[in-house]
């Protein structure tokens, strides 16, 4: 879920682009399948964290494609989650669980 929010934090993307973005950003560690992805999208839509963008980037785009955009609320949630993770990482580091050479 967090990964999808992160992917949308940059640009408005359509489904396939989200998949690619997540895969790319995690260096292939997180691979979402279509079913999982749209389960997540549905929940994010329901919770109002993302919305579907009305306008399309270009007219000859496949009409089946829908573009999603992070809402302000979604941005807040993503930020809050990132902060929480940061704290966790800091804690882990203070316990010497992580090597210093590898920043978060």
């Amino acid at each position: 879920m967090f990964h999808v929010l992160l992917a949308l934090a940059g640009d408005d993307l359509h489904g396939y682009a989200i998949l690619k973005e997540v895969e790319l950003r995690t260096a292939g560690e997180v691979k979402l399948s279509t079913g999982t992805l749209y389960g997540i999208i549905k929940r994010l839509l329901n919770d109002g964290l993302i919305i579907e963008r009305r306008e399309r980037p270009s007219a000859h785009d496949d009409e089946r494609r829908r573009y999603y955009r992070l809402t302000p609320k979604g941005r807040e949630v993503a930020a809050a989650e990132a902060e929480r993770l940061e704290k966790v990482v800091a804690l882990a580091r203070s316990r010497h669980l992580l090597k210093r050479t590898q920043p978060a």
């Binding site: 691979k31 279509t34 999982t36 992805l37 749209y38 389960g39 496949d62 089946r64």
Partner: protein
């Protein structure tokens, strides 16, 4: 689109079908697009592996997402459904009660059907167990009993059976406890329980040595007897009691299991029974006293066993021609034990299951109708939701969730109702089958209830959903209730009402017919007066009453003593009394001076042995001749009374049988002439529903009996004299226990208890159906009135009088009922022959019942329509016109 793309899309769509329709509708096309992109990418990379991995990952994702999505929708729907149910509390409660009653009736009856008819016998290899009957001649029906030598032949010569075991039942007296006790005793082969697969709870089973001649006598106690008489004390094993004048050691206690053919108190091996082990019994082929049970070898069919044993029977006849009748064509009938145990119960169970099913159908129709009526009010809500983008399938799912919740709650209520009624029901089926103890609510019953609830939810939920297949725009435009679809829905509602009336009619006919049979049964003149008669059954201890003199002396003194008991007006002894279940002894006889035509069947009559007071005690009239008296004693000429039916059959055309002589076969030497001294009235000896049979009565003094009944006519309640009578018995012989003590009236009541309960249950179902259907009609008419308020107002404004309005509403309701009744009559004509075997003295198409039921239904419909009709008549035209 390329060919590959098309194929991929097709396959992907199949996967998508796992997801909820709504989810598919929202994201399906998009997911397709994404997948195609993914696939293209994988293809570009050029490895087949990549494509396979994509498919695998995608399938995995959908398989994990789908259940989650379904569940979340279900949660949403249920929350919404619960809210709607709370909002329409009246509807909810009505629907739950109606469905609860319908499901409860079915669950209860099914739990009985399941235990009695469906479950395998609770014996090891129950499906391989048989009961054997021997057919001695082509024409004669197969008899239950076989002789010892015959059994040994069957055992030795058959090829199809694992084992043949014997059984017979005796009443013996058990001594050694505080009071002597008469016990029902099963006398069996040593491996009887092994064949049935019953292992003793405590102690040991019989062993081969127990059956050897002269082996020390041993006993197994039945579970019920052990609980009842020994309080479930396991130390009873090893105790020694006296029976038949010798010590018997208890070696074990049997587990609870259905005993067949009798519920016995104790079991003993064949060698311990003084009758069975006598030389006369062991050596004589014609002394048929054993019932045979057999276990087939694996993979043998009953018909094969039958053929095998019939071959043995034919060989026996060839070897011992003197022991079989001349026209003999001996054969053996092998009945599966399961059908033997349940064939009496089956028709009744199926009838009740059908009746319960009908009740459920009515309940469903009723709730569907309630649902439809509610839809009218929810029309706008659903319309708005459709307009806001909810797909039809989504709404359908919502409606189905609501009806499923109702059905589930109704099912839970039904389960409670069924559980509450189970004790009563199993007591009822115990009259038909020994399997009654197995009646429980088990997993199969729970699954059945769940299946019924599912069926109900589909039935009640789809009706309104189907009725919604109409144009959304009309709904919104016309603002709800009075649209054209109201007409379609009205038709569906009418059809449902008609169906309820028709099915109620069927059930009422079934109940009416069985109730009428019951009344007929109760009206049967039994030929005797059962009121105020006490019966005490016992068997004299044959080990002490060894001669006729001793037996007669006992009876003389007992009858005298009982005569002096306060309240007793007359007392008699007899071998059999009416309506007792034990069969009387059938015997052939010859009439003096008649030429026997060998082709004719020989005269046969049942025998009973009585004291002179028997006629008085039972109130049986002496029609001609004289009764037995003190002049008929052991050494005087042999005499007999016959009943009217025997007189008419063998002395037709008003010929007087009194003074004629007959020769009774198998009695004493079979060569002494017996004179008929009188004719007495017919008695329904074997049940009120079977015609009186031919009877010959012999005097007790000339044929003293060990296993008789004492009967006393009393002033007032006969049971009040019971204690005093038993005390007199102990005065005469302190070691002689009394067996069953019961009033004759009770025997009469018991003899019709089964038909009475059947009639009661059918009556209950029918009343339930009637109430539900009437409430349904009333509800629909009330709705119609509220929908037509405007029209009624107009009618009244232009001069219609209230009485005309009432008539209009009533005739509408009655019209529906009439169609229902007509369909019901047609269905009843087609179906009532199914209940023919349950009827007594009434035909399945009994006009009185049909008319009566039609009248009852009409009256109920009228009553149900009256309230809404009156409300219609009270419509204020001004207010009604303003509502638009």
């Amino acid at each position: 689109m390329t060919e590959t793309e098309r194929r991929t899309t097709k396959r992907f769509r199949m996967l998508l079908r796992l997801l909820p329709a709504e989810f598919r509708g929202d994201f399906g096309p998009e997911m397709e697009q994404v997948f195609i992109d993914q696939r293209e990418e994988a293809a570009r990379e050029g490895s087949k592996m990549g494509i396979w991995r994509l498919w695998w990952e995608t399938a995995k994702g959908i398989f994990t997402t789908a259940p989650r999505e379904h569940l979340s929708m279900l949660r949403q729907d249920s929350t919404f459904a619960l809210r709607m149910m709370r909002k329409n509390l009246g509807f909810t409660i009505a629907a739950i009660i109606v469905l609860g009653l319908g499901i409860g009736a079915n669950t209860a009856i099914f739990s009985v059907v399941n235990a009695v008819l469906l479950k395998p016998l609770p014996y090891a290899h129950g499906e391989r167990l048989l009961m054997l009957r021997e057919r001695l001649s082509r024409s004669a029906p197969a008899g239950r009993n076989v002789s010892v030598p015959e059994m040994l032949d069957y055992r030795r010569q058959n090829r199809s059976l694992d084992a043949i075991v014997e059984y017979h039942n005796m009443q013996f007296i058990l001594l050694g406890r505080a009071e002597p006790e008469q016990v029902e005793t099963g006398v069996v082969s040593w491996n009887f329980f092994d064949v049935f697969g019953a292992k003793p709870l405590f102690g040991r089973d019989f062993a081969p040595d127990d059956e050897k001649d002269g082996a020390p006598a041993v006993l197994l106690l039945s579970y019920e007897f052990w609980l009842r008489s020994f309080g479930g004390d396991p130390t009873v094993v090893g105790k020694v009691f006296r029976m038949n004048d010798k010590p018997h050691t208890v070696v074990g206690v049997l587990p609870p299991f259905p005993q067949y053919p009798h519920e016995n108190d104790v079991y003993m091996p064949s060698s311990a029974c003084p009758f069975r082990s006598s030389a006369h019994m062991i050596g004589n082929r014609q002394m048929r006293m054993l019932r045979l049970f057999a276990r087939m070898k694996p993979n043998v069919k009953p018909t094969e066993a039958e053929a095998d044993l019939s071959t043995v029977a034919a060989a026996m006849q060839k070897e011992f021609p003197n022991d079989y009748p001349d026209d003999a064509q001996p054969g053996v009938e092998a009945t599966a034990l399961k059908s033997e145990l349940t064939h009496e119960a089956k028709p009744t169970m199926l009838l009740l299951l059908a009746a319960a099913g009908f009740v459920l159908l009515i309940a469903c129709a009723n709730v569907a109708n309630l649902n439809l009526a509610r839809m009218v009010r929810r029309n706008r809500e659903l319309g708005v939701r459709t307009a806001m983008g909810a797909s039809r399938i989504r709404l359908f799912r919502q409606l189905l969730t609501e009806s499923s919740l109702l059905a589930l709650i109704g099912g839970a209520l039904g389960l409670l109702l069924a559980d509450g009624s189970l004790q009563l029901l199993s007591a009822y089926v115990a009259r038909f089958t020994p399997r009654a103890r197995e009646v429980h609510i088990d997993v199969a019953v729970l699954l059945f209830t769940l299946a019924v609830a599912f069926f109900v939810s589909v039935l009640t939920g789809t009706a309104p959903a189907v009725a919604r297949r109409e144009n959304l725009i009309t709904t919104l435009k016309e603002g709800g209730s009075q649209s054209t679809l109201g007409f379609i829905r009205g038709r569906l509602r009418s059809a449902l009402i008609i169906a309820q009336v028709a099915v109620s009619f069927l059930l009422l006919i079934g109940a009416g017919l069985t109730v009428r049979s019951l009344i007929n049964l109760q009206r049967v003149d039994p030929g005797f007066r059962p009121e105020n008669v006490l019966t005490v059954q016992f068997s004299l201890d044959f080990s002490r009453y060894t001669t006729d003199e001793k037996t007669l002396a006992f009876w003389d003194s007992l009858l005298q003593k009982v005569q002096s008991v306060p309240g007793v007006t007359s007392v008699a002894a007899a071998g059999d009394f009416p309506l007792d279940k034990s069969p009387a002894f059938s015997n052939q006889f010859a009439i003096e001076g008649r030429q026997d035509n060998p082709a004719d069947p020989k005269p046969v009559a049942e025998l009973n042995v009585i004291t002179p007071e028997y006629l008085n005690v039972l109130g049986i009239p002496l029609l001609s001749g004289r009764n037995f008296d003190q002049h008929d004693h052991p050494t005087s000429p042999r005499v007999a009374l016959i009943n009217q039916s025997t007189a008419r059959r063998y002395w037709p055309n008003n010929e007087d049988p009194v003074g004629k002589r007959i020769l009774l076969a198998n009695i004493r030497d079979g060569k002494t002439w017996t004179q008929i001294i009188g004719v007495i009235g017919d008695v329904h000896q074997h049940g009120l529903d079977s015609a009186p049979t031919d009877f010959i009565y012999l005097p007790f003094t000339q044929y003293p009996q060990n296993g008789p009944a004492l009967m006393a006519r009393t002033q007032g309640d006969p049971m009040a004299a019971a204690r005093a009578v038993v005390e007199r018995l102990y005065e005469v012989d302190p070691n002689q226990p009394a067996g069953r003590i019961q009033s004759l009236e009770q025997y009469r009541a018991d003899s019709i208890a089964a038909p009475r309960l059947t009639a009661n249950l059918l009556g209950l179902f029918a009343l339930l159906a009637l109430a539900i259907a009437a409430a349904g009609i009333g509800g629909v008419m009330a709705l119609a009135v509220s929908q037509r308020t405007h029209e009624i107002g107009v009618r009244m404004a232009i001069g219609a009088r209230p009485a005309e309005i009432v008539r209009m509403i009533l005739s509408q309701g009655m019209g529906l009922a009439l169609v229902g009744v007509i369909i019901g009559v047609a269905a009843a004509f087609a179906l009532t022959s199914a209940v023919k075997s349950f009827l007594f003295g009434v035909t399945p198409n009994d006009p009185a019942t049909f008319l009566g039921v039609a009248a009852v239904l009409t009256a109920a419909t009228l009553a149900a329509c009256y309230l809404p009709a009156r409300r219609a008549a009270q419509v204020d035209p001004l207010r009604a016109l303003r509502t638009e």
